[in-house]
Amino acid sequence: MTTTLSVNGQMRQVDSDPAKPLLWVLREDLNLLGTKFGCGMALCGACTVHIDGKATRSCVTPVSAAVGKKITTIEAVAATPAGKKVSEAWTALDVPQCGYCQAGQIMTATALLTDKPKPTDGEIDAAMTGNICRCATYVRIRAAIRQAAGLNEGTAA
């Protein structure tokens, strides 16, 4: 079935089973490989994309559910104001270790800062808790979000 998707500001056509998860459509059909597969069950956050600005687990989102909506992936997130700040902070603080989870971390952090430009420490942890980092870069994830938000010191939870 031919489906039209709005991805990173472009209309893209894919020939896909409507039940195929958006994750695999992005990776296999659109060659957008930045969005990662970690668990397939909305448990790790590696596959996080924005659908109409909301952080969404693409591994459990059938492609049919994304039709008519605006999909943003890691490849284009730095074009948004919050995404740019987050990406710059991530690089400056050298957040990644293996790096595999980081696309999902950046997408979730960007959605957080878009909603709440000055999150508290408690809000940062609550927003990021769905994103696993097996290398445990959490200390720097917190610091990078604070830096992107212009919060030099942590705020009370």
Binding site: L33, V77, W90, Q102, A136, I141
Partner: protein, 728 residues
């Protein structure tokens, strides 16, 4: 376009007579097929005409930062600016590159000198070329920023302009080539962010799972859940009828020829299609024998064995029985820990193309050389017919030292010759078909004399093995404090098992640290001391203890004492402190050539949930931290990894011969909420060459947490993982 590399690039080329190492023909190793007539090439440097430099990163990058660090060493001695450097991952070629693996925290000690010598030799050849060109003495020349400079005549020449002449200079003796002194370092010891960090942040395809080849197809694998099972029947025709399915290929997972499972691979135009098609496979397995094994069965067999005499001895020094019989006080306790999975966030995967009797891999492997050997044997093709491209790796932790994914995809690729095929495990496959950190059981007795000194120690270790030998990762050596006291007996007994085991970050140490440092905290308590002070007294005077082959390793009590004293000062350690659900714990462990002492503060709430609030780490990994920012990150990650092993609920249970965990809901990894507010890290330099950091910071945190929980609650943790039921 497409001009040969040779015409476009100045090639610095040389070879060394005899011996293993040499210098670089960068073109060959960085750009062409491996092993092309080159058996004695070691290729790391390419000089571009614009005087920029490509440095080959030769080791697999799993998040430990080696792709940045090894090139830093070369660039330092080549005397170029870091901004002039581009880095390329080299191909896997064990005939060209020495020590091309990620394991055992070996890369730093193995490569610290050789990588620097490669850079220094190249620099020396460039200097000689300039000296000849200008007819000036070599010692009148200096270098910097990729130029040779003759200050007296105010002349300078870029390395690029000298490269062709330099390539004709005989290669210096690498062992004698002069190296910089630490005071001359411009790159070593300065923080450099990961070379791939900008690409990771931009979502660039770097990992094995991201590999795309023209005409590529995808494979999912249904393996017999019970380890060692073989295939009876399956519905190949039903699967082949499904749209998008290309082939059904019976294979064996072959972690180890003894315990590989039979499996069935489904090849399709999409991985999602291949994986969905597993539902139609209806496999029947012959697994009756394998299904007899279970965690419950292992636990009762261990319980039956542990109070009997050990089957064998690991360490037998002096007369432990006699020492314990004469002790003023004895302390006994039993400890155990579970099987653990690696759970790398990038599931196991591999891509291969089999064609004309040759196979080409794009492999996220920590250890390509044994992968090549395994595939050569399995497919009956020569090693030279195997090409291995190393991808960036989404987490190693030892999982990717086993090359089962290479063996699996090799068989699939052979079943669809001419088509590149990418095989991907689901998370369930990944957790079930791992090479697990083995479970283990210990029964200790320690004796104290009237002055509270440790005078004897006994451990009966029950582990997995056969024929008097431990399974992979299931052994134990002369654990601390065996080298320090006279009367020690560590005995061992082996249980038979079908469970594939392997190496998990800081293998053996991640478990032994918990049991030994927790038990020693119990012994210290009996001596009315805190653990830090008890260890100081047990170690005694500052000295280097020589290794005793096959019994105990080397140990330097001065280095141990320095990190213990340091961490106590950092944390303001005042001995045993805690109560009312708040407590402080200490532990020390020496592994992978690194000495680490750690203090943790924990909170145990009324529901028995444990949170680690703050951690202090003091570590000695030699006289030079090469990349400080990455060193800090390795320690932070190791600490939280250990917090996860201790408190996240990680445990693989074997049921019907198979691991029963399926995803992150039942095999939890630490999340951001588990991360301490602060991890304070200091390195204590010592007069020793630099050693690795991927592992040694992990082991002490686990017993430090257990000891802190004891301080907080009075409850002694003797079994991992720590669960609320132990604490309410």
């Amino acid at each position: 376009m497409n001009a040969p590399l040779l015409d476009r690039r100045a090639i610095l080329k040389a070879s060394l007579v005899g011996g293993a190492a040499l210098v670089f023909d960068a073109k060959v190793a960085l750009a062409a097929t491996p092993g092309a007539k080159a058996t004695t090439l070691n290729a790391h440097i390419r000089i571009n005409p614009d005087n920029s430099f490509v440095i080959g990163a030769q080791n697999p990058e799993i998040g430990q930062g080696i792709k940045t660090m090894l090139p830093m060493l070369i660039a330092e001695e080549l005397d170029i600016d870091w901004a002039q450097v581009q880095i390329e991952q080299t191909i896997a070629n064990e005939k060209v590159y020495n020590g091309q693996f990620a394991g055992g925290s070996f890369a730093t000690p193995t490569h610290f000198l050789p990588m620097r010598r490669i850079g220094a030799a190249a620099r020396q050849m460039l200097v000689k070329a300039a000296a000849a060109k200008w007819s000036v003495p070599e010692d009148s020349l200096t270098t910097g920023s990729g130029k040779v400079i003759h200050a007296a005549s105010k002349r300078s020449a870029t390395y690029a302009s000298l490269a062709v002449d330099a390539a004709k200079v005989p290669v210096p003796d690498l062992a004698k080539v002069p190296l910089k002194t630490p005071a001359q370092y411009k790159i070593i010891g300065k923080s450099k962010i990961g070379v791939d960090t900008p690409a990771i942040v931009a979502g660039k395809p770097l990992y094995g799972i991201d590999v795309v080849q023209p005409g590529m197809v995808y494979a999912a694998v249904e393996a017999c859940p019970a380890y060692g099972g073989t295939v009876g029947s399956f519905d190949a025709d039903g699967v082949k009828k499904l749209p998008g399915v290309i082939a059904v290929v019976p294979i064996n997972t072959s972690y180890d020829p003894k315990i590989g499972n039979d499996a069935i691979a489904i090849v399709a135009t999409s991985w999602w299609v291949a994986n969905e098609a597993r539902k139609a496979l209806k496999p029947v397995w012959n697994d009756a024998e394998a299904r007899q094994y279970s965690t419950a069965g292992f636990a009762s067999a261990a319980a039956a064995q542990i109070d009997k005499a050990p089957q064998g001895d690991l360490v037998k020094k002096g007369d432990a029985e006699k020492a314990l019989a004469g002790a003023a006080k004895t302390v006994t306790a039993k400890y155990d820990y579970p099987f653990l999975a690696h759970a790398t966030l990038e599931p196991q995967n591999c891509t291969a193309l089999f064609q004309d009797g040759k196979i080409e891999f794009w492999a996220p492997t920590q250890n390509p050389a044994p992968g090549r050997a395994l595939v050569a044997q399995m497919l009956g093709i020569p090693a030279e017919a195997i090409t291995i491209h190393m991808t960036r790796i989404g987490g190693g932790f030892g999982r990717r030292l086993s090359n089962d994914y290479m063996a699996i995809v090799a068989q699939i690729a052979k079943g669809v010759p001419g088509k590149p095929v990418k095989m991907i495990f689901t998370r369930t496959d990944d957790l079930r078909h791992d090479v697990f950190r083995p479970a283990g059981w210990h029964s200790f007795t320690a004796g104290l004399d009237a002055q509270g000194r440790l005078v004897g120690l006994k451990d009966h270790f029950v582990t997995f093995g056969e024929g008097g030998k431990p399974g992979t990762g299931a052994g134990m050596s002369g654990e601390f404090p065996a080298a320090l006291i006279g009367d020690v007996h560590y005995g061992v007994s082996y249980l038979k098992s079908n469970v594939p085991t392997g190496y998990l970050r800081a293998p053996t140490s991640n478990a032994m640290s918990f049991v030994f440092q927790s038990f020693l905290d119990e012994v210290a308590l009996a001596a009315d001391l805190d653990l830090a002070e008890f260890l100081r007294r047990t170690m005694g005077e500052g000295r280097f203890i020589e290794p005793v082959k096959g019994v105990t390793g080397e140990f330097d009590t001065r280095r141990a004492r320095a990190v213990i004293d340091k961490v106590c000062a950092m944390a303001g350690w005042k001995g045993r402190e805690g109560g009312n659900g708040k407590g402080r714990g200490f532990a020390f462990y020496y592994s992978h050539r690194g000495y680490f002492a750690e203090v943790v503060d924990v909170t145990v709430n009324s529901g028995g949930a444990v949170h680690v609030d703050k951690v202090w780490v003091a570590g000695d990994v030699g006289n030079q931290i090469i990349n400080p920012i990455n060193a800090l990150h390795q320690v932070q990650g190791a600490v939280i990894d250990g917090i996860g092993q201790a408190t996240a609920g990680q445990k693989i249970e074997i049921v019907n011969g198979s691991g029963n965990r399926t995803n992150f809901h039942d095999y939890p990894l630490p999340r951001i909420t588990a991360a301490p507010a602060e991890i304070v890290v200091e390195f204590v330099p010592s007069d020793n060459p630099p050693t690795g950091l991927g592992e040694p910071a992990l082991p002490p945190v686990i017993p430090a947490i257990a000891n802190a929980i004891f301080a907080a609650t009075g409850k002694r943790i003797r079994s991992l993982p720590i669960v609320p039921a132990q604490l309410v």
